[in-house]
């Protein structure tokens, strides 16, 4: 019974923690510009992250190490520092987008300009990481994130074209605006397959003291939790296809996003959207900040742990403090949160191999995993999707930037 409850909690928190500003914005842009045609990119991204999360949980449970630990040990200092540099640069932009997302939610709800909310939301996020435990951050905020189910309710209520949705699950070439099509596809993949997610997951498995006995729970949580989470992204895309696409509207501002639920559910839909955006972005802010701090502390051999007194793990605490501050400054300096979201998701996709390929090598290392190394399916799925995302990103990002 205890295992069933653990699995249920894990699935529920995976669902509640899945959506964040990247997945909401990119799925909405996909639906607004191309209707149901990019549903395949959401599915591909979800499948890939489900595999990656299962792998990272398995790695931690079998080896007793986190991914950053093993990256440093197996690949050496220079390779580890390169991975850290790339991951930090990209993830701090994503973090800026998430902090901006929380501020936008408050702007929508109060009418007060988002620049007045950036600093308070950054301080709130820092305070939660400083004072909260890992369990509170992992479970508490994610349970609140179940409010994002409003997107599914609205999508079903809006009367989607299920036939077109089914056809959209099959990848095909675009019939118009090919550069923008592939750019949005890359952004969707980057929003789904964020390396900070599996650094956070493996560290969490160690914080929760997972062992080989947790492999079954891990499979259920990663597979079904992420599957349902991807379902939420598809719901956002469907809403945009129903509400924005017929009117020829694209997502230019966050107000366009709030119209997704408001148009179908009325005023309650607006307030639920505000809550969903704010909580989803806050949860992602906490995860990214911790994830980068884990990446540095573990690879450099410092004391670390969210459950440790933050005054004692001073370098670890200082790391996430500085990271949150830098990300907040990027938004305060005038970066538009939506543009920041778009470019950070696309850069995440383009830089995927830097994070994913070394991790895949580790997942085939029997010194760490014993008999639980990857099978050919897991290797192939992750490798193909990551390399594809990178190739598409490298091609489409410059073209998109040149075009705009």
């Amino acid at each position: 019974m205890k295992r069933v409850l653990q699995i249920a909690l894990g699935i529920v928190t995976s669902v509640g923690g899945f959506l964040e500003i990247g997945s909401i914005a990119t799925a909405a842009q996909a639906g607004a510009a191309f209707g149901y045609r990019l549903a395949w990119s959401i599915v591909a991204g979800t499948v890939c992250i489900a595999f990656l999360l299962e792998m990272s949980g398995r790695f931690a449970a079998c080896s007793g190490r986190t991914i950053p630990d093993a990256l440093r040990e197996r690949f050496g200092g220079p390779v580890y520092l390169t991975i850290v540099a790339v991951m930090c640069c990209v993830s701090i932009l994503v973090l800026g987008a998430e902090i901006g997302g929380t501020a936008v939610a408050l702007q929508l709800g109060t009418g007060i300009a988002l620049r007045w909310w950036v600093a308070p939301m950054a301080v709130l996020a820092w305070f939660i990481v400083w004072r909260g435990t890992f369990g509170f951050i992992e479970n508490g905020v994610s349970l609140l994130g179940l409010v994002t189910i409003v997107f599914v309710v609205a999508a079903v209520s809006g009367g989607p074209d299920y036939g077109a949705l089914a056809r959209g699950l099959v990848p095909r070439l675009p019939d118009h605006r090919p550069v923008h099509y592939w750019y949005v596809a890359v952004s969707v993949l980057g929003a789904s397959i964020s390396p900070y997610l599996y650094y956070f997951y493996s560290s969490g498995a160690i914080e929760d003291k997972w062992n080989v006995g947790y492999l079954g729970i891990n499979r259920w949580v990663a597979g079904i939790g992420m599957g349902f989470g991807g379902f939420l992204s598809v719901a956002v895309m469907v809403l945009a296809a129903i509400v924005l696409a017929p009117a020829g509207r694209e997502v230019q501002h966050y107000r366009d996003l709030s119209d997704l639920t408001t148009t179908v559910l009325g005023t309650p839909g607006f307030w639920l959207f505000v809550a969903a955006l704010g909580i989803a972005c806050l949860g992602a802010t906490l995860e990214i900040a911790l994830s980068l701090a884990y990446l540095l502390a573990q690879g450099l051999g410092w004391e670390w742990g969210e459950d440790m007194d933050p005054r004692r793990s001073a370098r670890f605490s200082l790391t996430y403090t500085v990271i949150i501050a830098v990300a907040a400054v990027i938004v305060l300096a005038g970066a538009d949160p939506l543009e920041l979201t778009n470019i950070s998701m696309a850069l995440t996709a383009a830089s995927l191999p830097v994070g994913v390929l070394p991790f895949l090598v580790l997942m085939n290392d029997s010194d760490y995993l014993g008999d639980h190394t990857n099978g050919p399916l897991g290797n192939a799925v992750v490798l193909v999707i990551s390399v594809l995302a990178m190739v598409l990103g490298v091609i489409s990002i410059p073209l998109q930037l040149a075009g705009s």
Partner: protein, 117 residues
């Protein structure tokens, strides 16, 4: 045992099993007519960065010297190390070494962690 795969970049802990950084460098001593002998490890961000870029390491070294007062990276004699529980353990207390100098400074001046804990 292999130096690069099994020693370099491994976790270091002290006698109380507190984390003490990672093995950032390994020093061997060459002697004419005899095999090179492993004599010490280095634990220092300067040593780590020097593996990537000399100029950056020199700059970091000046900064490290200002904070820790040391002009050379901290070394632990090879004979003082034991391999235990998937990490290298040295015979000493990390708080009595410069390894945690920055950590101690931050605890004292920033986070307010009590010195006697």
């Amino acid at each position: 045992m292999h130096l690069a795969a099994d020693v370099l970049d491994e976790q270091l802990v002290d006698v109380k099993h507190q984390k003490a950084g990672r093995i950032d460098g390994v020093i061997v001593s060459t002697r004419p007519g005899q095999p090179p002998r492993v004599i010490a490890i280095e634990v220092s961000p300067v040593t780590l960065v020097a593996r990537v870029n000399w100029r950056l390491a020199r700059w970091l070294g000046r900064l490290d010297a200002r904070i820790t007062g040391r002009r050379t990276p901290f070394r632990i004699a090879w004979d003082a190390l034991r391999y235990r529980d998937r990490s290298f353990q040295f015979d000493g207390d990390v708080d009595a070494t410069p390894i945690n100098a920055v950590e101690h400074w931050l605890r004292t001046h920033v986070t307010g962690w009590p010195a006697n804990e």
